[in-house]
């Protein structure tokens, strides 16, 4: 049953299994383990980023496609739900469904067109074209302010069941009120889990094997009779759809959409970094990488702030350790891991196991 659920793709390393179980349990019981809004927010972000990064790994790690348009699809999902809810006086489930359906339709069409146009060409060409399209889309979203709320984005209400004021049962359960926020968290958790298992199923299917064959040697895959362009377009569309769903979950969780949280190029570089550090071509890399990254983002900055104060006399060092400069250190880590650690954390753990 468990093997079936994981599509036969087990962690294949005892340490990795322990880490994964710890992460899943931590996320599952997060509302009861920690108090306060911030840890729960961190946990929800981790869930969503796992899906977002795993869907990107489908492209980068499994198929060898470098796309810079992944945040565009993530943003489309978020804006679809957000705009649909914001345009109604009364937020309903119907609005969510309509918004999501419209977002998914747009996602499929855009991913298909971009794929059709650009996937016949070399990796670099595709990377450039997706970068251009995605940045145009981001500019468009911030300029059409009547529709998208511009740079400020839009805040909106969610159906009553999910709103923070709602309580399901009067008394606390394990010292925690069962309110809309808790229900939303478990919606995000369950949705992310389902999407992740779907991706795992996908990469371990015959379809996924063809994608890996294309990554290893496209010419040979073509010679075996697979129409590689079709497979690459499919991978592109599926990755985009999952990213859009992750965006929709993010919108429901934050009750806000805006360019900074969904369309910004920084989100794209975050995804790239997590995939590389976690391990390309291993779905579990997304879990480990996203957890580490989001935890670091939320808690390392505090440490950096303290370190910066300690060296406040030294001019450049203090500036370099300022919490806002944490991307500097991540960038350095990014470069170092591409050189010395190209298989990522999960790859390394599996290699250690295989060497024994």
């Amino acid at each position: 049953m468990l093997i079936r659920l994981f599509s036969g793709d087990l962690p294949r390393s005892r340490l990795l299994s322990v880490i994964l179980v710890a992460i899943v349990l931590g996320l599952l019981f997060a509302p009861f383990l920690f108090s306060g809004a911030r840890p729960l927010n961190t946990a929800a972000t981790i869930c969503i980023y796992i899906v977002l990064v795993a869907s990107y790994d489908l492209l980068l790690g499994y198929t060898g496609i470098v796309s810079f348009a992944h945040t565009m699809f993530y943003g489309i999902g978020a804006y679809g739900v957000g705009i649909a809810l914001a345009s109604r006086d009364e937020p309903t489930w119907g609005a969510i469904v309509i918004g999501l359906a419209a977002a998914l339709a747009l996602t499929v069409v855009l991913a298909f067109i971009i794929g059709l146009f650009a996937l016949r060409v070399r990796a670099i060409f595709y990377a450039m074209i997706t970068l251009a399209v995605a940045s145009s889309f981001a500019v468009l979203a911030s300029q059409l302010s009547d529709f998208t709320g511009g740079e400020d984005g839009r805040t909106f209400g969610v159906p009553e069941l999910l709103s923070p004021g709602f309580t399901l049962v009067d008394h606390d359960v394990f010292g925690r009120a069962v309110d809309g926020k808790l229900i939303t968290y478990y919606l995000v958790f369950a949705g992310s889990l389902a999407l992740f298992l779907f991706l795992l199923r996908l990469v371990n299917s015959p379809f996924g094997r063809v994608l890996q064959a294309i990554r290893e040697n496209e010419f040979r895959a073509e010679a075996l009779g697979y129409r590689t362009v079709v497979y690459r377009i499919w991978a592109n569309v599926l990755g985009a759809v999952v990213a859009a769903l992750a965006g929709a979950l993010m919108a429901l969780w934050l009750r806000y959409v805006g360019p900074k949280t969904s369309l910004d190029f920084e989100v794209m570089t975050d995804i790239l970094l997590i995939v590389v550090v976690g391990g390309m071509g291993t779905m579990y890399g997304a879990v480990v990488g996203a957890t580490l990254f989001i935890l670091a983002q939320n808690y390392l900055k505090m440490l950096m702030g303290q370190a910066s104060e300690m060296v406040s006399g030294v001019p450049l060092l203090a500036a370099a350790l300022h919490p806002d400069r944490w991307m500097l250190w991540l960038g350095v880590l990014f470069i170092l891991s591409i050189y010395f650690f190209p298989i990522g954390i999960v790859g390394k753990l599996r290699l250690r196991r295989a060497a024994r």
Partner: protein, 339 residues
């Protein structure tokens, strides 16, 4: 078979490659097509503005496309050189503000020239170091190249924030370059005229270097067929490093010009403009300087006309233009073997 060929044919000079002029006609076609939609003075103003922006784009894009042609390396960090160039110029421009505000064109241009020289020198050295540290270990691996140059860009941008602070810096134009001159009723900003002039100088200098010098011959041959040049005993890597440093210096020059054009500097100005630069390179055809020149002018002119006629459309005009060009020529205007 070859034995039956007449001897004379072997001695005859190779037939000259036919020049492919259709893309060359695109720029005048776009310029003329825009005329009926607006008044004549507006047209003049917009055309000059488009040419100025196009020249700046060309300066930033030309080095990048040559580097790609030579070693098939696409540097996603090129935008960082643009930012570094602009910020380096402030080392000269801000302390010597008095000279910038002096009412003498000579003093203005002098201090500007000094700033440009410093910016180009710094970005050239930076480019050389970037090649050594970032790019050298990942030749021939496109996936890693893209990832690592993006990482290089992140680090460079953050370093700019560390050195110059995270606030945006105002960079006013020199007194003599502010304002506009009037040709009939058409207002032409002086700085745009300067940008067009600088762009033309760079373009002509580049054409002369590529077509009239030995090093230019090597570069052109390398872009055409690197392996062959290598087999003839030339170290293409050395040519490449030179072109990379020169391309970075041009990015620095472009950065100073772009910074003065915008009059404010932010660390991510380079990564914003690099998107347009990529569109230019895709349109021009990877590795082609001529295509890059035409692409820059097309993108800038269309953006300016569209910005006037339909501002919302202008936001996606570059993508629309790219799609149109790729439908016509899937590999860009000029590709290898076509000039």
């Amino acid at each position: 078979m070859s034995a039956t060929l007449p001897l004379a044919q072997a001695d005859a000079p190779l037939p000259a490659a036919r020049r492919d002029i259709a893309p060359l006609l695109l720029v005048p076609a776009v310029v003329l097509a825009a005329l009926p939609f607006m008044s004549f003075p507006t047209w003049i103003t917009l055309t000059v503005a488009g040419l100025a922006m196009g020249m700046m784009l060309f300066i930033m894009a030309s080095g990048l496309t040559l580097v790609f042609g030579l070693m098939s390396v696409l540097n996603f960090g090129h935008g960082a050189f643009v930012s570094v160039g602009a910020f380096t110029a402030t080392f000269v421009l801000l302390p010597m503000r008095g000279w910038l505000e002096a009412d003498s064109l000579l003093a203005n241009l002098g201090v500007l020239g000094l700033a440009v020289l410093l910016a180009m020198a710094v970005t050239a050295v930076l480019g050389w170091a970037f090649e050594r540290v970032i790019i050298q270990p990942v030749y021939g691996q496109h996936l890693k190249q893209i990832l690592i140059t993006v990482a290089g860009m992140i680090v460079s941008e953050q370093l700019i924030n560390v050195i110059w602070g995270a606030e945006q810096i105002a960079l006013p134009l020199p007194t003599a370059l502010r304002g506009a001159v009037f040709v009939g009723e058409a207002a032409i900003e002086k700085y745009r005229l300067l940008a067009v002039a600088v762009g033309l100088v760079v373009f002509v200098a580049m054409l002369l270097t590529l077509n009239r010098t030995k090093i230019g011959l090597l570069i052109r041959a390398g872009v055409e067929n690197g392996e062959m040049v290598e087999a003839m005993g030339y170290r293409i890597r050395r040519v490449f490093v030179g072109v990379f440093a020169a391309g970075s210096a041009l990015a620095g020059l472009g950065g100073v010009m772009w910074g003065l054009y915008k009059e404010t500097l932010v660390a991510h100005m380079g990564s914003e403009i690099i998107v347009l630069v990529f569109v230019v390179i895709i349109i021009g055809g990877l590795g082609s300087v001529g295509g890059c020149f035409i692409g820059s002018l097309l993108i800038a002119l269309v953006a300016n006309y569209a910005g006037f006629l339909a501002p919302k459309v202008a936001l996606v005009s570059n993508i629309a233009l790219m799609v149109a060009v790729l439908l016509w020529r899937p590999a860009g205007l000029y590709t290898k073997g076509r000039h």
